[in-house]
Amino acid sequence: MSTNENTNTATPAMNRSVGMPGHMKIIFVVLLAVLIALPFMVYPVFAMKVMCFALFACAFNLLLGFGGLLSFGHAAYFGMASYVCAHAAKVWGLTPELAILAGTVTAALLGLLIGSLAIRRQGIYFAMVTLAFAQMVYFFALQAEFTGGEDGIQTVPRNDLLGLFPMGDDIVFYFFVLFVTFGGILFIYRITHSPFGQVLKAIRENEPRAISLGYHVNRYKLTVFVLSATFAGLAGATKSQVFHLASLTDVHWSMSGEVVLMTLLGGMGTVLGPIVGAVIVVTMQNYLAYLGAWVTVIQGCIFVIGVLMFREGIIGVLSKIFKKPL
């Protein structure tokens, strides 16, 4: 809780460097332009899928790249949000924005519960605890009545946005998804470039030192954990509206693995890395689908090559070449 908000907003220093650096502004504007044109060039549902996974990977990267915490159970937030959103739209008849909100809030609460227990451990133990909880969530999804077990929740309706605008047309819905995911990614960017984000980086770099400066590091870790779970939930909830479906795939541990893959491939701790990683992985899954199980093998090979050849990820390497944070 900042004590002197008024002086903060009134400093002349603020005017010196408001917002993001110039090159990031240009990149985001170009990205937005491409995304606006995208549904007219590729299948809109595919484009929406890519965007949902890009947001999911960015949420994960917030925790790993900036919080220094490797969660191996992010499918839990993605998947539960997906289920709750689908249930809210189908059974309660909620409009898309409210259904997605319900899913997102569920993910945040789940993140608060699991996070408050997991942050007591570090490193590999932290990863194991998050995985264990995610497996419990998976079991819950398999057994609970409302999730539909093996069938999942199918034929989820897309109700009218705000009760006014029909969302049945994929191109129309695309622009709603664009607003949600792009907004989410911008918000995550802001989190990493906030006073909170600075403390987070300090904790990642040297935790004992951050403590010795008087920071209660566990509270910061829990905050970033909940934020990460929340945005993962936003991605999952939106995804279930895109596909009219919530299923066990969303909560399965391989989903947790996939988001690790996307983030590391693109470059953890970078802004654009998770987005690039998500584009590559989802595109491969879609356009190489005719190869069947071989997709996983190809994915594995790419991952191994990626880790061996450029450990900082694609964007990490580019960022070094251009000597700019990307």
Binding site: M14, V18, R190, P195, Q198, K201, R209
Partner: protein, 246 residues
Amino acid sequence: MLQASGLTKEFKGFVAVNNVDLTVERGTIHALIGPNGAGKTTFFNLLTKFLQPTSGKIIYDGKDITSKSSADIARLGLVRSFQISAVFDDLTVLENVRIAMQRRRGDSYDFWRSEAVLGQYDDEARGYVESVGLGDFINHRAAELSYGRKRALEIATTLSLEPDMLLLDEPMAGMGQEDVERISALIKRISEGRTILMVEHNLSVVANLSDRITVLARGEVLAEGDYDTVSKSPEVIEAYIGAGHD
């Protein structure tokens, strides 16, 4: 200023710090010396609660801090440094200092606000950076600094918290002679109006800087006094050189 009484830390089957009493007077530089394994760093960790004492009591500035958390102790103005240099490698020199000053805003959980608000600390942070002679490196990443400069940056960071008391854990460890002199002078300067407790191996530094010295050996206080008293104590000579030299 700081008073530890009966401080003990037992690890399984081993007593690292045994019933240590130590009083650091306000405004002095107090040195803690002793052979390797004497328990100096453990003692430091107990004072700042990075380790939980098995028994004993710590009073700082009239307040019992025995059951407080490390972060809360730092907030009371008792700030420690580390044996290995503790800077934030991926942040710039300026940001390193600023992260400490940011504590003045209270907690920084405001993830929705731009980091531009931290610009309000830039000028003062620059002052601290320049005061330790790092003005030319202000926008460099801390990872790029030499060892001696990292230690200087650490001191600048610590100072920006304006602590009443500093605990320095081997501030000269691994430094060349030139750096030792620079950091000695810096410590002397910052001791104005502050209390300092430091662990140090370099005896000439200890002799020059400290008002009072406590010698620890095998987890216990062996001797205490000014440099002349301590250096002539037969127990201390024995502990440093070893028994059986008579």
